[in-house]
């Protein structure tokens, strides 16, 4: 080793100058795509296009969320190696708010939302039916119940009369009659408890009809309802963007004054906010992806989506790093040691993703319970079976696993970036595999002639993907340029610059 690098020599940082053609291209692609997409969506294709948009947004959101995870992990585990690449992670994470805002159309507009999450329209229809039913039956029901109450009260009166009629009952006889009275009184009181006002009766009847005609939605009504849905969406936005922006802003302030206080804050808050991060991401993917079929569920779902996000965010970081170095940035700061470490982390997460994906599949396959297997039944038959084996089993796991085993691969920036790009492609296939198979059956179910796919919809998928990629790229370039490319006065800079593994 030719002597140590001194962090103090790097305290001015390195500014990124946005290549204006690239920025313009991103903006052009993003803006034009956005316009085109939503003009096209003003038609009966809106349903199919909603899936495309969800696919594109969740892909880029997962990368941004992965960036946030790596930032927080770096702080929480008190790491030193990654300080020089931490700013890139923070920049990725800072794109979360943009991505969630991009999701707003599908979250808010019924013609998108109802196509994606069938529980919205089905719940609405069930409730409408139920209220019609309640409207019709209400008066009869009230009368019926009141008659029952009257009957119960009569029975109490009759029993009391029985007791009074007996001239001198034996103690046993008296006790028997008294118990009977108490029993009947209790029954009458219970009947009388029911709210038989018009509103009360309507509510009872609505619930009854709802339960009978949409049992699943009735049982899940505490979670699957529009009010709570909006509360959750706001929570995801606030929690994820808040954490990302907070950590990034402290990191940038540290660039300016070099005060170790920021360093300590980032570490403490990263630890404390990790549970919020985990909760927000878990329920976000529950709502957005697991909710595509509201009858399906898996406790592993949050972990599965987390694994893919973390893996591919690291991949994107590697690609970004290589691109920046090609453009002449970070040349002296980032060494092959960093590539090696990032390669190892990618390898670890390739395995972790496979572990989670396999376990989830395996347990559902083994237990063979109807409401669970439907997810894999759809994806392990016909066209999707070949897709699963080719892209998820081989492409997402075996190939990168074997290639990343080799030490040499992790030490060659171009090669490791190639592997990362491959992984990103597989990640897109993974998310597509989650979203697209739901589209055909969902959109055609009401016609009675269920189609597994919507012909030609892939065009919208590509359009949406390219559009969101453009927007993502545009904001990423801006974020890169808005601060030094690495935390230049971080107290752990020495350690990171001289890392050996």
């Amino acid at each position: 080793m030719a002597g140590l690098k001194d962090g103090d020599d790097y305290r001015d940082g390195e500014r990124f100058k946005i290549p204006s053609t690239l920025q313009f291209a991103c903006l052009g692609v993003g803006g034009a795509g956005l316009l085109l997409f939503f003009i096209l969506a003003m038609s009966d294709r809106a349903g199919a296009m909603a899936y495309s948009w969800l696919f594109a947004v969740i892909f880029f959101l997962s990368l941004a969320v992965g960036g946030l995870f790596w930032t927080m992990l770096h702080h929480a585990s008190n790491s030193g190696w990654g300080t020089v690449v931490r700013r890139l992670m923070e920049n990725l994470a800072s794109l979360i708010p943009f991505m969630i805002v991009l999701a707003l159309p599908i979250l808010a507009f019924p013609n998108f939302r109802d196509a994606l999450w069938e529980w919205f329209p089905e719940r609405k229809a069930a409730l409408a039916d139920a209220s019609t039913y309640a409207e019709q039956k209400r008066d009869a029901y009230i009368a019926e119940r009141q008659a029952e109450i009257a009957k119960a009260e009569e029975a109490v009166a009759a029993a009391k009369k029985d007791l009074a009629d007996v001239a001198s009952p034996s103690p046993g006889h008296r006790l028997h009659l008294e118990r009977r009275i108490a029993e009947l009184e209790e029954k009458a009181a219970k009947l009388a408890e029911e709210d038989l006002s018009e509103a009360g009766a309507t509510a009872t009847l609505v619930d009854k009809h709802f339960l009978d005609h949409a049992t699943l939605l009735f049982n899940k009504r505490g979670y699957l309802n529009e009010g709570f849905w909006w509360v959750r969406q706001i929570f995801y936005f606030v929690a994820l963007s808040g954490i990302a922006l907070l950590l990034r802003s402290w990191s940038i302030r540290l660039d300016h004054d070099g005060d170790p206080k920021w360093f300590r804050w980032m570490r403490r808050w990263s630890c404390g906010l990790l549970p919020f991060f985990a909760t927000a991401w878990t329920f976000l993917v529950f709502d957005w992806l697991m909710g595509l079929d509201y009858s399906w569920f898996s406790t592993m779902w949050g972990v599965y989506l987390f694994a893919g996000a973390a893996l591919n965010s690291m991949g994107l970081l590697v690609i970004l790093l290589t691109a920046l170095r090609k453009a002449g940035y970070l040349k002296d700061v980032v060494t092959l040691e960093h590539y090696h470490l990032m390669g190892k982390l990618m390898h670890a997460f390739v395995i972790f993703w496979a572990y989670i994906a396999f376990s989830q599949f395996f347990l559902i396959w083994y237990a063979n319970i109807t409401e669970e297997t439907q997810f894999f039944l759809m994806r392990n038959t016909a066209f999707w079976n070949g897709y699963t084996i080719a892209f998820l089993v081989v492409g997402h796991f075996f190939l990168p696993f074997v290639v990343l085993l080799l030490r040499k691969v992790k030490l060659m920036p171009m090669v490791i970036s190639g592997v990362a790009a491959w992984n990103l492609l597989m990640h897109a296939f993974d998310l597509y595999w989650i979203i697209a198979p739901e589209r055909g059956p969902s959109l055609t179910a009401h016609t009675g002639n269920i189609q597994m796919t919507i012909p030609g919809a892939w065009v919208y998928d590509i359009l949406a993907f390219v559009t969101v990629a453009g927007i993502f790229g545009f904001f990423l370039l801006r974020q890169l340029a808005s601060a030094s490319l690495f935390p230049c006065r971080d107290p752990r800079l020495d350690e990171s610059l001289n890392v050996v593994n």
């Binding site: 005060d259 406790t299 972990v303 376990s359 083994y366 752990r492």
Partner: protein, 479 residues
């Protein structure tokens, strides 16, 4: 937590409070001091307390032997299990012990791969703990088969019955997973021991010298040996890491591949692994805090080590809490009547509700005190919380295993379970065996990986002089 320091304080930021790396060995100890201190434990007479602990442990071990002899000679009917609860304390204890082992592998393998140098002070003892815990764990399913002398049926040996093991059964995977785990852990431990056995060899006299010399295999510490040794150690760590994940995942498959409500849930594999690491770290702390005090190892196992372990307990405890909440949420969201009922039975009404709350408190609530610096550094609090966790993790397995079985799909098949004295004695006895083995380990083998601790001293880095120069330059500039 006020931040008193600011940029104006004449300390370079890299040496500021909360930034500077804490020393892994305190008081600038030399290499020779480490050798003397650790080898001293083996070479000197054991303190009285060692004997005070050893005698009852042997007694416990004899209880274990007695209850096993009684069990085998009488039959498994002496256990309290019956229909529908066919798995009781035996499997609870199996999962408990196998989980304890996981921290050892985590410390030795995963922390090695992630270059966490603080592992060196605690890895030897934790690996020993792993091996002893897996030995304890193996007893329970081994005898649970009923006819212990037929255990060889588990091995795929050609036979004239043309019977082959059902390789689709999670129970057979367990056989492979646990035996592989034990073998690989033993190999890993022994490979790590070789250089330290050589140290003991070079200090011992008489018969001890021959014994240590024999087991040290003639280690000479040449770099031409070290380089392959290090590679072997790295590979074993890389093999153990997925192995440790797989073992508890396979254990979780015993439950999760079934359709029993409360058992079948997809998060079981990572949840079991996190729980195992969680419980294992608690056991490491339970063992290491007294050892540290008893043998004066405060300079080697420092507050930093305990702090880190407390943080891992906090992290894994929170992951386990996440899994508990996922289970509860999905039991609601899944809207499956049986599943919902199983959890209703666990948390609201049912004969074992107390066990659920016991588990939840010990595993999720109690470790939350480790958010506070004070609690991570007060040894009594750490010790008490660690024991809460030990206790809670046993209850976790209890909540999962018998309570799910006690309520089958048909009310006609419901039934409760309580352990018989044989099961209790067996469990108590397994602790006796565990403690006995651990105390013998303390007596005869180096409790701290001497060679590895030496490697993490700052002066052990061949570039130490350069780092020192950089630091001195900075100090001069700051002042």
């Amino acid at each position: 937590m006020a931040d008193t320091s600011s940029a104006n304080v004449p300390v370079h930021p890299s040496e500021a409070e909360g930034v500077a790396r804490e020393q892994l060995v305190l008081n600038n100890r030399s290499l020779g001091w480490i050798t003397d201190r650790v080898c001293g434990i083996v070479e000197n007479r054991q303190p009285l307390i060692w004997w005070v602990l050893f005698v009852p442990s042997v007694f416990g071990f004899l209880c274990l032997v007695f209850s096993l002899v009684y069990l085998v000679s009488t039959g498994v009917g002496v256990w309290g299990m019956n229909h529908p609860v066919a798995w009781g304390w035996d499997i609870v204890n199996f999962v408990f012990w196998i989980g304890i082992g996981h921290a050892g592998t985590l410390i030795s393998a995963i922390l090695f791969l992630t270059r966490q140098k603080w592992r060196t002070s605690v890895n030897r003892a934790s690996e020993a703990m792993t091996i002893f815990a897996v030995m304890c764990a193996g007893i329970f399913p081994g005898f649970h088969v009923g006819r212990f002398w037929m255990v060889w049926f588990l091995a795929p040996i050609p036979n004239s019955n043309a019977i082959w093991q059902n390789f689709k059964s999670p129970l057979l995977w367990d056989v492979f997973a646990v035996s592989t785990y034990f073998t690989v852990s033993l190999i890993f431990w022994y490979i790590g021991l070789i250089p330290d056995l050589a140290t003991l060899r070079d200090r011992a006299k008489g018969i001890a010298k021959k014994l240590y010399g024999f087991f040290a295999f003639g280690w000479r510490g040449g770099n031409r040996q070290w380089r392959h040794y290090e590679m072997a150690y790295l590979i074993l760590a890389a093999l153990s890491t997925p192995l440790v994940l797989s073992v508890h995942s396979v254990v979780s498959f015993d439950f999760a591949t079934s359709v029993i409500p409360g058992w079948h849930t997809t998060i079981f594999p990572p949840y079991f692994v996190a729980g195992a690491i969680f419980g294992g770290f608690a056991m490491v702390l339970t063992l290491m805090l007294p050892v540290r005090k008893l043998y004066g190892l405060e300079d080697l196992i420092t507050g930093k080590h305990i702090d880190n372990m407390a943080k891992i307990i906090l992290l894994t405890g929170t992951i386990v809490g996440y899994a508990y909440i996922m289970e509860l949420f999905i039991s609601y969201y899944g809207a499956n009547a049986f599943e919902a009922d199983a959890f209703h039975m666990r948390i609201l009404s049912g004969p074992y509700t107390w066990a659920y709350y016991c588990m939840f408190f010990c595993n999720v609530i109690a470790p939350q005190v480790f958010w506070f610096h004070y609690c991570r550094h007060n040894l009594w609090i750490v010790f008490i919380i660690a024991n809460f966790v030990n206790f809670g993790m046993w209850f976790e397995r209890f909540v999962i295993i018998p309570t799910s079985l006690a309520r089958d799909f048909l009310p006609g098949q419901w039934g409760n379970y309580s352990a018989s004295w044989v099961e209790k004695l067996l469990f108590g006895g397994s602790f006796g065996m565990f403690m006995m083995l651990f105390l013998l380990f303390l007596r005869f083998l180096p409790v701290i990986a001497i060679g590895e601790v030496k490697g993490v001293l700052p002066q052990s880095d061949p570039h130490y002089p350069e780092w020192k120069r950089l630091r001195e330059k900075r100090r001069a500039a700051a002042n």
